[in-house]
């Protein structure tokens, strides 16, 4: 009886169709009907035309082939990238861009981690900012203007709100501007949490002047700090402050205490308010509190101070 189906192609095809549909309905179609597949964070805002243009470029260049946009709820991952991704952050994402391969770092919490100037320089020449990186140079983004008319059509297709003035402004922007605007948006619907250990601003560096710590600090500096502040600690004008020049680094403040240094390295830009520095408005210092041990941070402070002492001579 059951064997008859192998002699009846129509019945067989129908049977196969029903079998294929069973799992598809339970796992693909049914979840769509549930609200937990369509959550939206209250803090999440729709894309602006510039941000959407940036996202379109992120798609065009296939960034998703090397960068993920989802932080898994694993201890190491939250420490490295920031808070784990929430379902409600992706309400406007068509398609999702979580990716499947992390050749480069995750970008889900990229927004506000680094200043625009870092991104501009990095897209132009990644190896200059991150030696031994394997990322391609995206030199063509700087020379092309955003296609304002196409972006307007895209905003309309997605039923996203926009003003005519926003589209008019787009014409002045390069593709690189749009890409960086998108970078700075990523993950910002979830407020950043303070990274690393609590900091006592009055703390004194227990490793100050320790030669072994200074040597260790050089290694930490080369691995984590030189990317922006450069190998010679002299920074990059207008983007990354020199750690040697007092007028640039300290601005109106006299030398900071060890505790303030520690707070800035551990907490990044978010610590600036606590120590009374204005910082750059478009983001800035990355928080290293989860990536560097206390000793590493004290070591790098010892190293910076020793370099500054040499520089003054």
């Amino acid at each position: 009886m059951a064997g008859q189906i192998y002699k009846k192609p129509i019945a067989f095809t129908l049977m196969v169709t029903l079998t294929v549909l069973a799992g598809s309905i339970v796992m693909m179609a049914y979840p769509m009907l549930r609200p937990d597949m369509h959550p939206k964070l209250e803090t999440l805002k729709p894309f602006t035309p510039l941000q959407l243009a940036g996202r379109d470029l992120y798609q065009r260049e296939g960034c998703v082939n090397c960068h993920t946009q989802t932080v898994r709820p694993l201890k190491s991952e939250v420490m490295r990238y920031g808070d784990y991704s929430k379902a409600g952050e992706f309400y406007y994402d068509r398609p999702f861009l979580w990716g499947s391969k992390r050749t480069g770092p995750d970008l889900a919490r990229e927004g506000g981690k680094r200043p625009d100037a870092w991104h501009l320089a990095h897209f132009e020449n990644p190896q200059e900012m991150v030696p031994r990186s394997n990322m391609p140079r995206y030199t063509w983004l700087k020379t092309a203007k955003v296609d304002a008319e196409a972006t307007r059509r895209h905003m309309q297709a997605l039923s996203l709100p926009f003003a005519a003035a926003q589209i008019a402004e787009l014409g002045q922007k390069t593709e690189l501007d749009a890409m960086v605007a998108y970078m700075q948006l990523l993950g910002t619907a979830v407020p950043r949490k303070a990274a690393g250990p609590a900091v006592d601003l009055a703390a004194v560096n227990p490793l100050a002047g320790n030669p072994a710590a200074i040597a260790r600090g050089l290694k930490v500096y080369a691995d984590s700090c030189a990317v922006c502040h450069q190998d010679n600690l002299d920074g990059m004008k207008g983007a990354f402050p020199s750690l040697l020049e007092e007028d640039e680094f300290l601005e109106e403040h006299p030398d900071m205490g060890d505790g303030a240094y520690f707070a800035l390295i551990a907490g990044g830009s978010d610590a600036k308010a606590a120590i009374g520095r204005k910082g750059y408005p478009d983001g800035g210092m990355t928080a290293f509190g989860n990536q560097l041990s206390k000793d590493d941070i004290w070591s790098v402070i010892a190293y910076i101070r020793s370099e500054r002492a040499k520089h003054k001579k």
Binding site: Y6, K7, P9, I10, F12, V16, T17, T19, V20, A22, G23, S24, M27, M28, P31, M32, M37, H38, P39, D56, E61, G62, V64, N65, T70, R72, L74, K75, S76, M79, R80, S85, A87, F90, Y91, D93, R94, P95, F96, L97, W98, S100, K101, R102, T103, G104, R132, S133, N134, P136, R137, H154, A157, L158, D223, N290, Q291, S293, K294, D295
Partner: protein, 473 residues
């Protein structure tokens, strides 16, 4: 000799030749992107940058080589098993031209950056429509020919071909539903978490219904044909078939473990993924017991080793896959180079060995002759085997290393390594992987040469005196 058959075999040959051309293109692009992984200077310009070339590689090999070969070989199998020529031979010929045009346009538009950013569904909406039309043409000919068959019972291979026709249609149409926003721009109809779930329901199953079902159809047809041994258990093949077709569709969300997708969807997918070992191994066991009836065939019939090694890699693949779906394993290897290692064992091991062996068989059969050179075929076999093993094994090692370095913490609880410290450790393995890929390509070029020489030999035979006319039935 039946003239209608000859005509349709020419169509089959057309698909095989097309698939071979796309294979060479896709493999060269694969080698390029494997070099770009450690030498960014090989990103020559926008068109050849990694982000655009990687989808070109996967689409040209998946759809150009894979689907091209599936079209051609499925038509061959359908005709043999129904003892009929195709019901719509001209439609199959038209489909062949449309197919090549489509793959060419995919190559160009993907290099230009027109993409839906959905893995294995990157092509923009006008090409999606073309693919659906192609698929309907294929379905009409397959189902139509089976309906007018001269053999009452449908052999196992026909079950797998029918399930391919149905499965790909359902998957492709749903996942490519999108909001058009221009001639070559669209946005997924589904958003956020839902977009992810639909995409991986598709993404995983397109592997199932393009790289598993039709390849099993070839395996079940050509293994007995090339060895003269009947399939060991018909009953086992029935159980394996239905449980595979049933189980596959539940498993896609194992690609989304630890993402914001609701936990229950992830868990159900993981459970069904474990279940999938059973039907996969049903075919593995059937293959092994079939050759087990006479192991000397591994020596005497040069194609046997392609099929048996192929099904061996299928067996390893279908144990490795479910293992990866487990949360504890996923958290270590997901997003690392382990995953390309896994995928390439399936494509370079299982799929490539089975498809190339099937093509050897079909091309020789079309002209009623023997393969141009068994020696060359044996060299091809060993080169692709070594190339694939070098590729996969290096990727597994570096993948585990990467995952471990990402997770490592100090006694104080801070991260032990920066991202770059982990990345630079990949470089030696990425060099070896490119080497493995290059060895594989040399093997595949021997295959291409062998096929072309066989066709040349066959055509000379046909043009020769009538006595040499091949007996085809």
């Amino acid at each position: 000799m039946n003239e209608e058959y000859r005509y349709d075999y020419k169509t089959v040959e057309g698909y095989i030749l097309s698939a071979i051309v796309w294979a060479v293109v896709g493999l060269v692009v694969g080698l390029l992107i494997s070099i770009q992984m450690f030498a960014p200077a090989f990103n020559f310009n926008a068109w050849t940058s990694f982000g655009r070339m990687r989808p070109v590689h996967t689409n040209i090999l998946g759809f150009g080589l894979g689907v091209g070969a599936i079209f051609g070989i499925s038509y061959f199998i359908v005709m043999r098993l129904t003892k009929r020529p195709l019901v719509f031979p001209k439609l199959a010929r038209l489909q062949l031209w449309l197919f090549n045009l489509g793959i060419f346009l995919a190559l160009v538009t993907l290099a230009m950056g027109y993409t839906q950013s959905l893995e294995y569904a990157e092509m923009e909406w006008p090409l999606d429509i073309a693919i659906v039309i192609l698929w309907v043409m294929f379905a009409v000919n397959v189902i139509g020919t089976i309906l007018v068959r001269r053999e009452e019972g449908m052999y196992i291979s026909l079950w797998y071909i029918i399930s391919t026709v149905v499965g790909v249609a359902v998957l492709y149409i749903v996942n490519n539903l999108s909001i058009p926003a221009g001639l070559l721009k669209s946005y997924h109809l589904f958003a956020g978490v839902n977009s992810a779930n639909v995409e991986w329901w598709y993404g995983h199953n397109v592997v199932g219904f393009v790289f598993t079902m039709p390849i099993l159809a070839m395996f079940y047809y050509f293994l007995p044909k090339s060895t003269g041994l009947p399939i060991w258990s018909h009953r086992l093949s029935i159980v394996a078939f239905w449980s595979l077709v049933f189980g596959y569709l539940w498993t896609g969300a194992h690609h989304l473990v630890y993402t914001p997708l609701p936990d229950w969807v992830q868990t159900v997918a993981i459970v069904f993924t474990l279940f999938l070992i059973a039907p996969s191994w049903g075919s593995v066991v059937n293959g092994y017991y079939t050759i087990g009836e006479d192991w000397t065939k591994m020596r005497t019939s040069y194609l046997s080793k392609f099929f048996i090694l192929g099904i061996t890699f299928y067996g390893l693949q279908t144990v490795q896959g479910p293992t990866q779906a487990l949360r504890v394993v996923s958290q270590l290897i997901h997003f690392t180079d382990w995953v390309p290692g896994h995928v390439h064992m399936g494509t370079m091991g299982w799929v490539a060995l089975t498809v190339t062996a099937s093509i050897y068989y079909v091309v020789a059969k079309i002209y009623g002759t023997e393969i141009y050179s068994e020696k060359l075929a044996n060299a091809h076999f060993w080169l692709v085997l070594v190339g694939q093993l070098v590729f996969s094994i290096t990727m597994w090692i570096t993948g585990i290393q990467q995952g471990a370095m990402w997770k490592a913490t100090t006694a104080e609880g801070t991260l032990k390594y920066t991202f770059m410290e982990g990345l630079v450790k990949n470089y030696p393995y990425w060099h070896l992987r490119a080497l493995g890929g290059a060895i594989f390509i040399v093997g595949m070029l021997l295959f291409v040469a062998n096929v072309l020489m066989t066709i040349k030999k066959g055509r000379a035979l046909e043009a020769g005196p009538k006595v040499a006319a091949p007996a085809v039935a």
